[in-house]
Structure formats: C-alpha cells, structure tokens
C-alpha cells in the first residue's frame, strides 16, 4: 500500500470507477496513460449527468429558468477555473475546444494581426505538434522566422542558447511548461521574465503542467496560457485560453458567428465583450460544468499534494525502470520531472511493448507522442511512455516492471 501524508490514495482511487474495470477477464486495468488523457472521477461524471438531467438549455439570451441556470453554471465554471490558476478577472478566461485550439487562437488572432515579415518567434525542440504546426503555418504565410531552444541530452532546455536567441529581439516566446515525453518541468518563470526583458510576448502550453502542478498565473506572469480539461480529470472537448486583458482586448476575433458579436448588420458587425468575443457559437456547456467540477475536485485534494505525490511516484518508477537491463529512460532526473517516463527497450519496438503490456491490463502509449522533432533530436523513431497521475500507486509501477520483464522473455531480449 502507498502512504502519503496528504493524499488518501484509497479514497482517491474509489472516486474513479473506471479503475475497477477488468480489461480482460481477471485482469484489472492499470492505467498509465494519463498524459494522453486522464480518467474522470464520479464527481465530474455526476456533475455532467446532473446538468443534462436537470438543467440543459442554451446559455445567454435565454430568459427561461433552465437557460438562466445553464448560464449560471457555465459562467460559474469559468469563475472556478479562473480561481484555480489565480486569475483575477474571469473575463480573461476563454473557453476553447482544447489546448490546440487555444494556441491556434493566439496564432491566428494575435500572431496574424501583430506579426510582420521577418519577425522572430522562439519555440523549443520539445514542443508538442500543437505548439509547432500553428506557428509553422503562420510563418509560411507571413515569412516569419522560427528559432528553437535546444534540448540537451539531459532533457533540459539550453538556457544559455536561449539567452543568445533573445538578442535577436523575438516578438513571441512560446513553450511548454512540461514536456509530454521527457516529463521535463521547464523553468517557466525564468523563461518568461527573460522574454519580457527582451520585449517579447509569452505563450505557455500548460496542457501537461496545469493538471499536475500548482500554477499561479500572477506569479508566472505568462501573457497567454493554454490548457485542456481532459488531462485534468475533466471531459474532452473543452479547454482554456487565458490571456492578459490588454492583449485580448487588442486582438481581433478568431472565429465568427453567434455570441461573439454585439451588433450585426448585413455588411458589418461589432464584437462582443471579453470573453465572449472569442467564443463563437454554442459552446460545450455540459463540458464546462464538468471542467468546473474537475477543478473543484483537484482543489479539494490540493495541487501541491498532488504534485508531491506524483513526484514520489515518478521517482519510484525511474528507480524501478532503470533497474531493468536493456531499458533506456529519457529525460531529466526526478527533481526536474513531472509524472512521465519515456523509454525504449533494446530489440523491441515500442508498439510491441505497448501491445504486450496490454495483455496484462497495463495501458501505456507508444509512438512519437505528437513530438516528432523531439524524437528526431534523440534519433528515435518512437518511444514507450508510461505516465502517472494522482490515482496511480506504486504497486502499479511494480506491475509495469514485472510486465516489461515478460516482454523481454517473449522477445528473448
């Protein structure tokens, strides 16, 4: 049994009904793929179920009871999420579909409007495709210059080289706070303050960090922050873009349609106030309610406790995985890492590893994890990735290790 002073793992696990599931007869699920998407606690499932059973209506403008309740629930969720990341004004919290859409919003609205030919955007070699491709698309169109902060063999960003790039006067520095492959937790505060000194705007991809770390936006001072509900115990289909008010006010709308307008004439329109200016069309209302419930759930346990517990888990996982002959771990030491372990096995392709582990009910991910450039950097076509969240326990890591030995047996590796 795991023991952690601040987190009652037995109680946490009981909140996640899916953990009782047998993947095949007699084989209970060991879910080590939370970096792809987390499982959902009953609190979230019930909140969404309740919403559809009792409240469902379209929000804003409606005058009947259900519409008012739905609007209150939707806007209430926005408030909760704002508080969760330390945002003072909820009007700077925009609901999107996911992290990817949040980043695209910044690129297409802020980037398209404010960047000119030859302007420099700094990214990193460890970005998820969602923080690469949108910039590449705009760079192609507007002839922007893209430069990348290198990743060292140790899985850490080369901050010295970054300082050199800053001399080139970038307009934007966009980076992930936590790598979805290496697990590296980047020194976001330092990266941001250096970028600000150089006069650049900053965008933080928080898809992995917000679910796992305690993040305070005031302290971080990021200009934009993007994250998704589904990786933090909430539903799929909803994410957030936080932006500093002055930036969001200055930006043109992203998608056009209902809700984002104040007035529409046949040939012209005026935009709505924040945050509605960036929320065209009927949003994911039930999902917002679920997102709010997820944030309540995480807050009730305490993000600091969750981070500490995951830290203990990943340290243990690294220790156990490193013991296995022929298994190679990538990324930084446990102190600089979130709950992710990417590894390769001698003579066994990651897909085969994942497939054989599935026999034992263990869910991990194999492939490039939407970070092909990072894999190219390490000369790897693919890796296997096991990731850990608040509901995992050491015993499951033991099962993972045991199953990896079975993979070795099968392949005679």
């Amino acid at each position: 049994m795991d023991s952690h002073p601040a987190l009652d793992i037995g109680a946490v696990r009981a909140d996640f009904p899916i953990l009782d599931r047998e993947v095949r007869p007699g084989i209970r699920l060991v879910y080590l793929d939370s970096t792809a998407t987390s499982q959902k606690p009953v609190q979230v499932i019930q909140a969404m179920d309740e919403y559809y059973r009792k409240t469902n209506a379209n929000i804003h403008r409606g005058l009947h009871t259900l519409a008012e309740e739905a609007t209150t629930a939707y806007e209430g969720a926005r408030q909760k999420i704002a508080r969760f990341i330390g945002v003072k004004s909820a009007r700077t919290v925009i609901f999107t579909r996911n992290t990817t859409e949040s980043i695209n919003l910044v690129v297409q609205s802020w980037g398209r409007h404010f960047l000119r030919e030859g302007d420099l955007v700094i990214l990193t070699e460890m970005e998820h495709h969602s923080n690469l491709v949108p910039w590449q698309m705009l760079a192609q169109e507007k002839n922007l210059r893209l430069e990348f902060i290198h990743v060292g063999e140790d899985g850490l960003l080369d901050l010295e080289q970054y300082q050199g790039l800053l001399d080139l006067r970038p307009r934007m520095v966009a980076f992930t706070q936590m790598s979805n492959v290496l697990g590296t937790v980047n020194p976001a505060k330092e990266i941001i303050s250096l970028a600000h000194l150089a006069g650049a705007v900053t965008l933080v991809d928080g898809a992995q960090s917000i679910p796992h770390l305690s993040v305070d936006i005031q302290d971080l001072d990021a200009d934009f922050l993007a994250f998704s509900a589904h990786k933090m115990c909430g539903p799929t289909g909803i994410g957030v873009l936080y932006g500093k008010e002055s930036l969001l006010e200055a930006m043109p709308p992203f998608l056009g349609g209902g809700e984002m307008i104040k007035k529409v004439h046949l040939r012209t329109f005026t935009t709505n106030e924040l945050p509605h200016k960036f929320e065209a069309g009927t949003p994911a209302i039930a999902e917002a309610v679920g997102f709010g419930a997820a944030v309540d759930y995480l807050s009730s346990l305490g993000m600091t406790n969750i981070a500490a517990y995951e830290h203990e888990l990943v340290g243990y996982a690294m220790e156990r995985l490193e013991e296995i002959p022929g298994v190679w771990l990538f990324g930084p030491p446990a102190e600089q890492r979130g709950g992710v372990t990417a590894f390769t096995m001698e003579q066994v392709h990651p897909h085969d590893v994942a497939q054989v582990l599935d026999r034992y009910g263990i869910a991990i991910r194999a492939g490039h994890h939407c970070a092909m450039p990072l894999h190219e950097r390490f000369n790897l076509p693919a890796t296997s990735r096991a990731s850990y969240y608040l509901y995992n326990q050491k015993q499951e890591i033991d099962q993972l290790v045991e199953a990896i030995y079975r993979v070795k047996d099968l392949f005679g590796a």
Partner: protein, 132 residues
Amino acid sequence: MDDLYREVIIERYKNPIYRGELNPNDITFEDENPLCGDQIRIDVRVDPDNRVTEAAFNGHGCAISQASADLLLESIVGKTIDEVKSLTKQDVLDLLGIDLGPVRLKCALLPLKVLKAGAYGMSQASDDLVEE
C-alpha cells in the same frame, strides 16, 4: 490477442531471411507509417518474364511490420509482377495467421503497400492499394 506474437512472427522479426538491399534492382520503393515511425524499403529484381527472382527489405519498425515484410517477400519470389499487383490485405493476414485491430493492421499492411506502390510504379503509396 495472445496469438498476436506467434512464434513465427517473433522469429521472423529477430532473424529475418529477406532483410537487405538489392543494388541494382528493377523495382524499389520506400514508405513509412508516421503514426509509429515504422519505415520500410523494398527492392525487387525480376527476370525477362517479369517474374520476381529476388526481393529484399530494409528499415525499422515493430515485430508485426517487419515479420509481415519478411513473410510477404518470401511469398512473392517466383510470382509475376501482375500477381504481385493483385495481392490483397487478406493475403498478408493469411501469411501472418493473426487477427489485428485497426492500429496494428496499418503496421502489418505497410510492406504490402510499399511493394504494390513499387510494382505499379507509383510516385506515392496510397492506402487504396491495401484496402479491399
């Protein structure tokens, strides 16, 4: 599922018979499955009657894709290019002797896709080549 890693598949993966390169060759083609990073190149030599005399594959990937390539090339030696063109998904599954889910099916069919694209002299491989 437990049959997925049949002995023949592990054996062919670890000790392939047709791994290598043929230079010069009459047909060569290369493609990859970006999803998992599997990559395969196939070289083929034919005689004046357009019959395959030699075949070889190179690249990297999972056990399923590599074993599939090895078994596939073994099966085409002596066949005409027209016969190669008419090979189907089912032929590959019969060679492997396993049932595959949608994700792994792509691994298993990559060698056939590469082979047929080469046989047809296409500039780009298409999934249509391996769908029934």
